[in-house]
């Protein structure tokens, strides 16, 4: 649930499921706007972290809501709205990552098929000046490490750590057994630690001392 909704507006609002039902049955634009208002921030955060770029995250958020409206007929009123929306947003992210990967592959083919090793590091070279990561060395390191993780590991980490979803809920969204989520999470944490571990050991460089003046 989006944060920051005032108590007063909560008194008058409907549940996500009721609003989505109105969107589905009556094309109710006001209900849709309500859903966008509640969910745009979590969806934008998820997309930004999945693709490692704030601008793309914003675009993917728009794409996710466009898909939500287009797929309103597929919504099952008995299902949780949040599960439906997370799934749509994740699929939008996966599609974008695949697009970028295909582009990189065709660019490499044009180069004579050399240096295929960097393919899994999508977004590594893209500096995102609008992200909080820019200008913060540790944050940039985290961004790069997350992008190096395979999508399935990044997904569980982002959903659990950043969005605070329970492991059971993640299993529901990804439509996999909870045990699989747990093993993916353990693998994700192990890989992430391997990527970040050198940073733990590296002593932080101390600021250079001013040279002492020579006393003659």
């Amino acid at each position: 649930m989006a944060r920051g909704i005032s108590t007063l507006s909560l008194l008058f609002c409907t549940t996500d499921e009721q609003a989505m039902l109105r969107v589905q049955t009556q094309d109710d634009h006001r209900a849709f706007a309500q859903l966008v208002e509640r969910w745009e921030e979590p969806i934008r955060r998820l997309c930004t972290r999945m693709v490692g770029d704030a601008h793309k995250g914003e675009d993917l958020k728009q794409e996710a809501f466009a898909r939500l409206f287009a797929k309103r007929e597929h919504y099952q009123p008995t299902a949780r709205f949040s599960t439906f929306l997370w799934r749509i947003a994740l699929n939008a992210c996966y599609d974008e990552l695949r697009r970028v990967k295909r582009r990189a592959e065709s660019a490499l083919e044009l180069d004579g098929g050399e240096a295929l090793e960097g393919l899994d590091e999508i977004g590594m070279d893209s500096d995102d000046p609008h992200s909080e990561a820019a200008g913060n060395e540790e944050a940039e390191m985290v961004r790069r490490a997350l992008l190096k993780l395979p999508e399935m590991y990044r997904t569980v980490l982002v959903l659990r750590h950043y969005e605070g979803l329970k492991l059971k809920k993640i299993a529901e969204i990804l439509e996999i057994p909870e045990g699989t989520v747990n093993s993916r999470m353990a693998e994700a944490l192990a890989k992430l630690t391997r990527l970040l571990e050198p940073q733990f050991r590296e002593p932080k460089p101390s600021p250079p001392r001013p040279r002492e003046a020579l006393v003659l």
Binding site: S6, L8, S9, E37, E40, E41, R44, R45, T48, R49, A54, G57, E58, S131, E132, A133, N136, E138, A139, M141, V142, R143, L146, L157, R160, H161, Y162, K166, L167, G179, V181, N182, S183, M185, A186, E187, L189, A190, L192, T193, L196, E197, Q199, F200
Partner: protein, 201 residues
């Protein structure tokens, strides 16, 4: 030493393991340096993830919400005022009867006045209408009479002109006749004179 399965650690690290599970895993960590080091590494990584924050976008709702709050506050004050007014109001039935009577008489008087005004306006309008009709009729009649007069005058003038022409022609004929008669009379006189002279001879 038998280590727990890897997937058992995920719920534990995120605080979702049941009490029994959590105690079992904690006991293992106390006795297994290898697992303890791994879990500690995971925790450090998770802590480091917090350094990457995605700032929230500014939202228009921040501008709208105070307006909405003021609107609700105004509605509450209005509702309280109406409620207080209703509670402190005098006997509603008597007041309603008084108001009804006064309204009825006022409405009747007003209606009668309006009726009288309408009648007067109607009469004035009818009179004005008749006057207009009369004026139009007389103007029309006057116009027709004038036309007749003009026509008659033209007719008389035409007749006069014809009479004058005939008189002139008659006079010319008379004069011609007179001149002819005079010549013939003179001729006769001359002839008689000649005849008389011849007789004397």
């Amino acid at each position: 030493m038998k280590h727990p399965n890897r997937d058992e650690w995920a719920p534990y690290v995120f605080g979702e393991a049941t009490g029994v599970e959590a105690r079992r895993l904690e006991a293992h960590l106390e006795s297994c340096a290898e697992c303890a080091a791994e879990v500690a590494g995971w925790r450090r990584s998770l802590k480091m993830l917090d350094s990457w924050s995605v700032p929230a976008t500014p939202r228009a709702r921040n501008v709208i919400t105070p307006v909405f709050r003021w609107a609700v506050a105004a509605a509450v004050v209005l509702a309280a005022g109406v409620a207080a007014g209703r509670m402190t109001a005098p006997d509603a039935k008597a007041m309603r009867a008084d108001v009804e009577a006064s309204v009825k008489s006022a409405v009747t008087a007003e209606f009668q006045q309006a009726l009288a005004r309408s009648e007067a306006r109607l009469a004035a309008a009818a009179e004005e209408n008749s006057r207009d009709l009369l004026r139009t009729f007389s103007e029309t009649m006057e116009g027709a009479r004038e036309e007749d007069k003009q026509a008659m005058l033209a007719f008389v003038q035409e007749q006069q002109r014809q009479v004058d022409a005939r008189m002139i022609a008659l006079r010319r004929d008379m004069e011609t006749l007179a001149v002819t008669a005079d010549q013939e009379f003179r001729q006769a006189k001359f002839t008689m004179t000649q005849l008389a002279a011849r007789g004397n001879e």
